[in-house]
Symmetry: C2
Subunit: 304 residues, 2 copies
C-alpha cells in the first residue's frame, strides 16, 4: 500500500532526506551549460538539455545516499515543452536509479479536472482505449483550498496505483499565516487555526489509505520554519507522513524537526533543494563531490 514503498526506501538508506531538484540555469556547472549552448544555441532546447544533464549528475552523486527526489514543476514549465521534456526524462532517470519520485506540482482543481491531473501524474491516461503514462511519479503535492472535490480523485489513484499525495497544511513561507494561521471555530465550538482544520480534512482523506506500515497514503506538507505548529500537527495526526520543506536555506534546523519522527525514524521526509544542488557553488572543486558531501552532511544532521 501507498506509504510502504517510501518507508522501505527510507529504511534502506537509513535517511529521511529528499533532494529537491529545483534547477536554475545559474546553478548549473559551466561545462554542462557550454556543451548545451554550443550544440543548440541560446534556446529552450539547450536549457532543457542542461537541466537534464545537471539533474542526471546530481542523481548519480546522491542516489545511494537519499531515498527520494522532489522535482519542482515550476522550474521545468519555465522552459516550455523542452523544460517539461527534461522533467519527464529526469523522473524516468531517478526511478531507474531506485529513487522515490515526489513531483511538486501543488495542483488543486475540481471533479473531472482533478481526476485529469491525477491520471497525468499518478495514474494512466486513456488514449483511444490504450492506457498510457503521461508523467508517472510515485507521489505529488496537492493544494486543499477547494476541499474534498479537489483531493479525492487523487486519493482514488493512491489506492488503485499504490501512490501517495502530500497536501499543503502549514507551508514554510513567511506569509503562510495570512490564511493558514487565522482562527476558525470548529463544529464543537473550539477555536482552531485554519492549518489544523485542513489537517483534520487530510486525516479524513487518508483514512482509507493507511497501510501495514501504520502510515497513510495522504501526507501533509508542514514547514520546518514553524516548529511549534509542526509539533502540534505531529500530535494531532500520528498516522500522517510529513513532507518538511524549509530545512537549510530557508532556516529550518534539525532540532526543530526532530519531533516529526517516530522511534523508528519514520513519519517525515525532509527536503533540501539549494542546500544540496548549489553546494558546488559554495565549496568549489568537483561538483559531484560537493553534492555528495552536502547530502551526507544533511543525513548526519538529521539522524544524529
Amino acid at each position: 500500500m501507498s506509504a510502504t514503498k517510501l518507508i522501505k526506501l527510507i529504511d534502506e538508506k537509513k535517511n529521511p532526506s529528499v533532494v529537491g531538484l529545483d534547477p536554475m540555469l545559474d546553478y548549473i556547472p559551466e561545462e554542462i551549460i557550454n556543451k548545451a549552448v554550443n550544440e543548440y544555441g541560446k534556446t529552450f532546447k539547450a536549457a532543457g538539455e542542461a537541466l537534464f544533464e545537471y539533474n542526471k549528475a546530481i542523481i548519480d552523486a546522491v542516489c545511494d545516499i537519499v531515498p527520494c527526489v522532489k522535482p519542482q514543476s515550476a522550474f521545468y514549465e519555465l522552459y516550455g515543452t523542452e523544460g517539461e521534456e527534461a522533467l519527464k526524462k529526469t523522473i524516468e532517470y531517478a526511478k531507474n536509479a531506485g529513487l522515490y519520485v515526489l513531483l511538486d506540482v501543488k495542483r488543486g482543481d475540481i471533479g473531472s479536472t482533478a481526476a485529469a491531473y491525477s491520471s497525468a501524474y499518478l495514474g494512466k491516461t486513456d488514449v483511444f482505449g490504450e492506457k498510457l503514462c503521461a508523467c508517472e511519479c510515485d507521489a505529488v503535492t496537492v493544494n486543499p483550498y477547494l476541499g474534498s472535490d479537489g483531493v479525492l480523485p487523487f486519493v482514488k489513484d493512491c489506492e488503485a496505483c499504490d501512490r501517495m499525495i502530500f497536501a499543503l497544511v502549514k507551508t514554510s513561507n513567511p506569509s503562510s499565516g495570512e490564511l493558514q494561521d487565522m482562527f476558525i471555530t470548529d463544529e464543537s465550538g473550539e477555536k482552531i487555526p485554519v492549518y489544523m482544520h485542513v489537517a483534520s480534512l487530510v486525516k479524513k482523506w487518508g483514512q482509507s489509505t493507511i497501510s501495514e506500515c501504520g502510515y497513510s497514503g495522504v501526507g501533509a506538507v508542514v514547514g520546518a520554519t514553524y516548529p511549534e505548529q509542526l509539533k502540534a500537527l505531529r500530535a494531532f495526526m500520528p498516522e500522517t507522513i510529513f513532507l518538511i520543506p524549509g530545512y537549510g536555506a530557508q532556516g529550518g534546523k534539525a532540532e526543530d524537526i526532530a519531533c516529526a519522527f517516530d522511534k523508528e525514524g519514520h513519519g517525515a521526509i525532509v527536503n533540501s533543494s539549494r542546500g544540496i544542488i548549489t553546494a558546488h557553488k559554495k565549496v568549489g572543486g568537483d561538483p559531484k563531490t560537493a553534492w555528495r558531501n552536502a547530502a551526507l552532511a544533511m543525513k548526519e544532521d538529521l539522524t544524529k
Copy 2:
C-alpha cells in the same frame, strides 16, 4: 493597464462570455479523431493533434462572438508533452484570432517558485540572456492558500507585462465550503467566512493594478453556484473582476449572476465549457453550427 484589454474586448463583442477549452477525447468529432489516429496511431501524438484540431474548429466557430477563451491546463497535461504542445498551439491560435487567453492553471507556490510560474505564463524566461516566452497568456488563475508570497510575483508581472490573474476566492464545486465557508475572526473581532478573508487579501494584492477602466488586474474566481456569496463579494470588492465558473452544466443561471455586473455590463466574465464545446453531441448536425448557436444562446441569456 492590466484589465483594460479584457474590458475593451468585452465591449467590442458586447458579451462577457468565456468559452472553456477543456477538451476530452470523447467530445471530439469523429472525423478529427479518425484523421489523427490514422496518421499517428493510438498515441499521445494523435491525442495532441486531435485536441488542437478540435480547439481550432471551436475557436473558428466562436471567435467573432466571445471575447475570451479559457483552456484548462489539466486536460493537456493529461497527454504529456504532446498535450502541452497542443495547449501552446491552441493559445497561439486563439491570440491570433483576437481572443483574450486566460489559462486555468490554479498555480500556487512561494517566492522564486511562484516567480518561475509567473515568468512561464505571464512574463518571459531568461535563457542564457535571451528573453523567451514559454507559454505566453493574457491571464492565469492562481491559488491563494500560501498567502502573499504565492501571489505577489504574479502581480509584479501583471504590472510589468500588462497581464491579469484571477485568484480563487469562492469556488463553484460542492465541497468548496469545507474550507472556504468556515468562519474566522478578523482583526476587528468580526466573524467572517474564509472566502471573505481571502477576498480582502485579493483587494489588497490588486490595489496597485487598478487601471483607468476602474478595475484591478487581480480578479477573483467566484462560482455561479453560490449566488448569495457572489452578491456579498460583489458588494465588498467593487473594483475586482469576477471570473464566474459554474454557469450551465454545473447549474448556475443567468439570474444568479446578474448582480456581478455594473451598469456598463463590466465586472465579470462567465465561463461555460461543456455547455459550448459539447453542444454538437446534444443537437447533432454540423459541429461548428452547434458551438456557434450555443455561444450565441449564452450571450443572449447573459445580456438579456
